[in-house]
Symmetry: C2
Subunit: 224 residues, 2 copies
DNA sequence: TTCATAGTTCGATGTTAACCGAAGCATCGT
DNA sequence: ACGATGCTTCGGTTAACATCGAACTATGAA
């Protein structure tokens, strides 16, 4: 049954990550879904057997993509029904609630707080988001310099964008990635506002008391 | 999550039964899905909470229908994906395999054998099936009279059709209902070809050795 | 009123499947 | 050759949920 494939939270997270049309590797998908590679592997083979995704081997990577636009269409339809029912509440994947609150996504902040930050930046007009790309406004550059002592000019990178929207598996919305996202996260760490959980391999990010307060002052709930 | 609602076999059976557009009572749906009323009640409230179906009270009955054509549309889309993947294999509901082989659906034969019978009748040109209605051919009338000593003329009924296609939950295909379906089943019983399971409340139908043989001779696997 | 039917709620049971650790290929880089 | 990385397979644990029996509510019939 196809529906039961989509029904599982972890698989659903993977599929939404693939909705962009891009092909992603198995480990990227595992990361997006917040599960280990072993578990992801099992899910991916099930999705493949169900004809929803197809793999492409490339070196030691396996890239997966949706098998076709019809799949994306049905997934959108399901999302539409969920929306209509006000049923959009996030069915979180497995494991720790702390992971949903704040965690590391590669090198930047993800989870509830990560999404909240980007939301706030949008409503404060610090960034302009057009379709797939994000751009910092003049206001935004000033803000980063003054509030966080981050010089945008130093963030340019040949292969990596400064701002990038990254899909958040626990929130199903975007948080800030790119070199700016990384810079912000490391600044948080330097300022002793937050620290990665000491447990080996953990992606949880713990905020300090003052960190929480400062974060709220800068990116507190937007009223838009 | 909407998809997980559709993913469960029992719920999926109920939904496909509702795909006709008609509203069905809770017990009818339980019957179609092959589960007890208690279980059905739980499923129905979940489907209602998910916004897929809506109830209508009428006396002591609760009629359920799909909330809209968009729901039906998404369900069709899912079925389409399943089809495309050659993934149409029946994910049966719970319980006894005997129930899937042959059982009573109100008063006629359902399950694997029920579906097989109607299939065979079609390929033998005993019936003509147009969209939603089924009609016995002249050949069919002769067949019923000779092979089963059933006189079609006596089967007319003011409120009930002689032939009717009834959706089979375990096979997802039609079997024969209506007064003819009932007549055939009671003939099978009289001829000692089959008998309802003596266990109280059981819907299982047990075929005798000779019954199996005779049935196969009349409705053996069609080669169409 | 009393009985029967339709449906729900509650509690207990059982099965399924997601999950991860550990170990096993395969591929790439050196 | 060797180690590192990406991914898979295997085994055992755990949590979620479908399932049913029994008891309860509501509606209709006698």
């Amino acid at each position: 049954m196809v529906a039961s494939l989509v029904g599982d939270p972890a698989r659903s997270n993977m599929l939404t990550a693939l909705m962009t049309g891009r092909a992603l590797t198995a480990s990227e998908l595992a990361h997006q879904a917040g599960i280990t590679p072993q578990t992801a592997s099992s899910h991916l083979s099930k999705l493949e057997a169900g004809g929803l995704i197809e793999p492409e081997k490339q070196g030691r990577h396996r890239y997966y993509r949706l098998t076709g636009p019809d799949v994306a269409h049905v997934l959108e339809g399901l999302a539409g029904l969920a929306e209509r029912a006000g049923h959009t509440r996030v069915r979180t994947g497995p494991k720790e609630p702390a992971l949903r609150r704040a965690r590391i996504c590669y090198d930047h902040l993800a989870g509830d707080l990560g999404v909240q930050m980007l939301d706030s930046m949008r409503s404060q007009r610090l960034v302009r988001q057009t379709k797939q790309s994000i751009e910092l406004t003049g206001e935004g550059k000033r803000f980063m310099a003054e509030a966080l002592q981050i010089d945008i000019e130093t963030l340019a990178h040949p292969r990596r964008p400064v701002c990038k929207a990254c899909l958040d598996w626990s929130e199903r919305r975007h948080h800030l990635a790119g070199t700016l996202g990384a810079a912000v996260m490391s600044r948080f760490t330097e300022l002793n506002w937050a620290a990665r959980d000491p447990a080996p391999g953990s992606r949880v990010v713990n905020f300090t008391r003052t960190g929480e307060k400062q974060f709220a002052a800068l990116f507190g709930h937007a009223q838009d």
